[in-house]
Each structure stands twice: as C-alpha cells, then as structure tokens.
Amino acid sequence: MSSGILIRNAGNSVLVSDAAPVLHFRELLTNASQVYYYDTYGGCRKWAYTFACPEFPVAFFKLSSAPTSILRTLDNGNGTWTIEVIVGGNGAAVPVSVPATPPELLIFTKPASATFGTDGWGMEVFDQSSNIVFSTKGRPLAVFGASSVLPPVPVNASDIYPPPGGPEGSLQSAYCTGDYTHDGSHAATMQATLFNSTGVTVVGSDVFCSATAIHQHERERGYTGETTSGSGCSRSTTYWQSLYWACYRSAVRLSGTQIEVGWALTEYDKFWSSYTNSFNGWSQSSNSTGRGAGGKPPLSNETINYNQSAMLFIDGAKYR
C-alpha cells in the first residue's frame, strides 16, 4: 500500500484499512411478525423482520438457549428488506422451549447507510474515492469471534409402532392422520436434540450472532403394508404407504458459556397413498381401483450443504 491507512494489533491482525470498508451499525430491530408457529417435534417459530435500508443489510440475532438462525434475506425492491429468522426448540431431558417473542436483530451495513452521530471529533478513514470506510462517529462492526462449524451428524428417525392413530395389526394409510407423538422413540428422534460446540468463548452477556441456515436436513420414516378382504375367488388387497417427515436447518444457541450449533425444525408433515387390487376368480380378471393419496409429500431424504460454515459473534452491548 503506497497511501491510505493500515493499522494492526499486537497479533499482526489488520484493524482498519482503507482497502476494506468496515460495516457499521444501522439499527436495532425488536419487532417482527410471526410467519408460523409449530409445537410438534419440539416446535419452532419463524419470524419476519421488514425494514428500510438503502444497501444490503447484514444481520446479527441475539443468542438464547433456543437454536436460532437466519433463513434468508428478501430484497423487496423498494428500499426495504425482509429477513426471516427461525427459532427452534426440543423436548430433550432438559427441554428447550421456543420463546414467544422474536429475538432482537442488529442491522449493519456499509458506512454510507449507517447511523452516525454528530460528534465533531474522533477518527474517520476514507478510501481513495473519498468514501468513508471507518468512522468512530458511527459504531463499526467489532467481531470478537468467528468459527467455521458443522452441525451434528444428522440422525435417522426411528420406527413408529404401533401406527399413529391405528390399532395394532390394522395398519392403514387412513390412520396416517397426524398423531406425531404417538410413539416415544419416533417423537424423540424427530426432535433436534444434538449440538456441537463452536469453540468460541463468550464475551459479555449480550452476545449476538450472524449465522445463515445453510445446512439443510430431512428426516423421514415410511411404512408400507397390505390388507386383504374377501377370500377365495373374490377378494381385494389394499397396498398402502404412510410417510412422516420433517425438515431442519442449522441453528446456533447459547448453552451456559458455550456457543453451540445444532438443528432447528422448519417444516414437518405426513403423506400417504394406497391402491386396491381386486381379483375375480370366476372371470380370472383383476383390476386396480381405489387409488388414493393425501397429505403433503416430502422433499428428498437427504442432507445438503453439509460443509463447514462460518458464524460471527459480537458483543451487543456496544450497540445499545
């Protein structure tokens, strides 16, 4: 660098450089609209924050004991943005309940759109085009921790037996009707109870995190069977399939002084289908009738984007 400014700390880390605009604080969001709430499989809430910002906003949410992450950012096209956040829960031995209020959100953006004070003193750094890249009149993003993490290895759901809603020995697609907690082992494994440590040491008691829910995971359990009615030369057999499924995204939580990454439920549902094959022995004919299906089919039974992903941590007290 032949001009400008470059400040390093004792660890040779770059603190301020005119070559790298620093994101600055814009606003604290406390209000959000609830998109949905589920109480099955530990539960989850999806929140939507809509706000104005001339440039791309980078969001940090307040950490709590409930796993939380940023689902996506929507550019509404009129200078406003919507950020969707998911908060999950689980019914582990020490259950995690889903908070009823949205997590606070800190918004950062480029200095030109940040919130600056009117102090006549401090330090400002400009780039060669006279754009502000750092200013103590604003509140620069100060990241105390960054960690590349993976959520725990996904687990498979366990069998449901006897079938939800149906008496033992009479499995039918018609019984796939929504008792998601009928069997203890099934309900437990459909809940996201496992977490990995991020290795980040907590600074302060007001920790905010920026973590995008990149990792996606689905668990499902399917059952097939058949039942026959009639006998001899006039009988019919019904073949059926029932499928319970749930989708999850990676999410971060605070557990004591540890920051952990796990999964948060985002969607769940069930799907069933059947058809009946009738046989007539007198005419030696058979035909398939009575096809039926219902519920909502799953995506695909897989885990995608299962690669290391970075998460950033800041002390929220600096921005209140």
Binding site: S13, F144, S309
Partner: protein
C-alpha cells in the same frame, strides 16, 4: 488489556472497539449472482472466514444449494450453485 493496540470509547466511557478483543476485519462484501473471483491482499490477511447471506431464495420448503468457494494465492473463487447470495469475507 493489551499494552498497545487501539481502543475507541464513546463519550460516556463505554467501549466501542478494542483491538485486544475485536480481531476480525472486513475484507469484502461480494454479491454472487454468477461464478466470480475476488482478489484480496494475502500478505495482510492470512486467515479468512466467509459467511453467506441468501437473497430472494426459495422458501424453506425447497432445496437451496449454498455457493462454494476456494481461496488460493490472494484470490477467492466463488461458484454460485443455483441461488444468488452475498458473501461477507472477514480476515486477519
């Protein structure tokens, strides 16, 4: 408290920035709407982290492939994969 470095305080004395704690700097914010590369000074930044923000991607009921990236010799190469995203690059 480090014996040297940089500390900014607010008028009320509360801390805004402390170089002993806040050790990650922003290297760049890149909009990935196609495969693209981003150059950075690897003599200054020897350790990088990259976070992705998805923009206008499908709802949670659909698959969403994240961009991939690799860094070598002062260049980060991003592969879009299928959806637009912002990449925030921090370094130290």
């Amino acid at each position: 408290m480090s014996e040297y470095g940089m500390i900014f305080n607010r008028p009320d004395g509360s801390n805004m920035y402390n170089s002993a704690i806040d050790s990650w700097s922003q290297v760049g914010l890149v909009y990935i709407n196609t495969d693209k590369s981003f150059a950075y000074d690897n003599t200054i930044f020897t350790n990088l982290v990259v976070t992705f923000w998805f923009v206008n991607v499908p709802p949670t009921t659909a698959k969403m492939l994240a961009p991939s990236f690799s860094a070598a010799n002062g260049t980060i190469q991003f592969t879009r994969q299928g959806f637009d995203a912002y990449a925030l690059i921090l370094g130290r």
